[in-house]
């Protein structure tokens, strides 16, 4: 709302803003902010120290905001035993709205490579890679392609960006946009009578 409030509105525009727009916009914002997303947070495990702590922090903050945020390893027990690990992760990724990847472990590098070829999933990934690793094969290969296609690859500077929560800020910015997308999609579904709550 600060974008409007910082503008010196005329008395007529100010009256419309205060009496009509602001109450409705705030109502809309509340509804959008309560639209949950299913989010997977891929990245290094507990042995990675502060990077794992960052992964935990991102997951917990997303949960605090009402999203279904999980590590893949948390869902392993629910997966069909007949599927391979790659198959299980593919299903999880397919069900998720967003996949946050902290590219700092062999596991997450492999996962990104596995799924970078799947257009159903590669859109969903928001990938953070250590800028020290950008001259490696992973960045010059699949990640560069994703960055070109979808602009969903971000580099981070270790340890400053980890310490200063820049990763979390970028994740939340992406989540806010996706919440609006999902809210609009669900409102459309409701208005057609395909979901409860429509006209």
């Amino acid at each position: 709302m600060s974008g409007v409030q910082s503008v010196p509105l005329s008395p007529r525009a100010r009256a419309y803003f205060e009496q009509v727009f602001k109450p409705q916009y705030e109502k809309l914002q509340r509804a959008v902010q309560q639209t949950p997303l299913a989010i997977l947070v891929w990245g290094p495990g507990a042995s990675a120290g502060d990077l794992y702590q960052k992964r935990l922090q991102i997951r917990d903050e997303l949960r605090r905001r009402g999203h279904a945020a999980f590590f893949s390893e948390e869902l392993e027990g629910m997966s069909p035993t007949t599927l391979s690990q790659k198959g299980i992760e593919f299903l999880q990724a397919q069900a998720a709205d967003l996949i946050v990847v902290i590219q700092a472990s062999y596991g997450s590098v492999a996962e990104v490579h596995d799924f970078a070829e799947h257009r159903v999933i590669n859109f969903k990934m928001l990938i953070f890679i250590d800028e020290q690793a950008t001259d490696g094969y992973s960045y010059r290969g699949a990640l560069q392609e994703l960055k070109t296609l979808y602009n969903n690859v971000e580099t981070y500077r270790y340890p400053e960006d980890i310490r200063e929560c820049r990763l979390l800020t970028k994740v939340l910015a992406k989540v806010n946009v996706l919440q609006m997308v999902k809210y609009r999609a669900m409102e459309n579904a409701k208005s057609w009578g395909l979901l409860p709550g429509g006209a």
């Binding site: 600060s2 974008g3 409007v4 503008v7 010196p8 509105l9 005329s10 525009a13 419309y16 803003f17 009496q19 009509v20 727009f21 109450p23 409705q24 916009y25 109502k27 809309l28 509340r30 509804a31 959008v32 902010q33 309560q34 639209t35 949950p36 299913a38 009402g66 999203h67 279904a68 999980f70 948390e74 869902l75 027990g77 629910m78 299903l91 397919q94 069900a95 998720a96 709205d97 967003l98 257009r119 159903v120 859109f123 969903k124 979808y150 969903n152 946009v177 996706l178 609006m180 997308v181 999902k182 809210y183 609009r184 999609a185 669900m186 409102e187 459309n188 579904a189 057609w192 395909l194």
Partner: protein, 316 residues
Amino acid sequence: MSTPSPYNLLELYRQHRDEIDAITDPLTLFILAYVNHLGTIRLDEIAGELGLSPAALNKTLLPLYRGNFITESAQVLSVTSLGKRVLAELGFGASPVPPQPSEPPRQPPRSPAPSASRVPGMTVFGVAAVVLVSAILLGALALFGIFAFPAFPPTRVPQVITHPPVTLARQTTVGMTPTFTPTPSLTWTLTPSRTPTWTRTFTPTRTPTLDTQGPPAPAVLAPTGGVVISCSGTYLLRWSSVTDPAGIARYEWVLEQSKSGANGPYTVSDSGETTSLTATPKLSCGWWYRWRVRAVDGLGNTGAYSAYAYFSIGID
């Protein structure tokens, strides 16, 4: 290569980026709603109303132009039918009537998975099940294409509720004096609104007087009485001390000389100021002299001169 699923939010965002950009930025959405509220408005007029430069206004309008939510013709802006539909879906209708305060709050859409995530103590299995069920549901909806933004938007028919006109009877005043039983009483409770502060006034018992009095005149000690002093040697003028309430700041002395005799005429030959009780004047042999001294107090008040004292210097 597979076809992108309509239930990919990022894919949806990519497809509808202009619309999302327009409705997630408060200022852009406000401009769209405000133009819709007014019907039409000139570009320069809305720039003035929002206090924006033409460049800043154009930048804000860009996603609205790109998304075909607003059109401009001959410098006049108006909202397209697509823009009106999006506004209506977001709750910004054409009517400027403010929302009723009694309107129940809109229930935000919720899916089972995040609700589960908010339940403390829920097992990972339970939450995962909810996520999978949600995925299946959304996937099924995706098959019907319902998450694609509507190419053929459903038409909403506004409901207009009419009410027959109501005639209100004019109120008539009847001469009546109301009585109250029992007789009402009124009790006043006075509560001080301020905490008193004590003020004391001091009256001086003495009125100070301004000291304008000079100190008394000192008494000359030597040389006096017409004494004749040898031409060789050094001589001091000496006088007695005096006191004053403001203290003595200094003494002023004046020496006069005459060549004609003790009776004068005298002319001033030397003078000076000192804080001591003596002075060393300039003297010449063969002259008659007289001198006097006065005191000055600490406030600058000058006292009276002493009487003249006479002496002469011989010619050895």
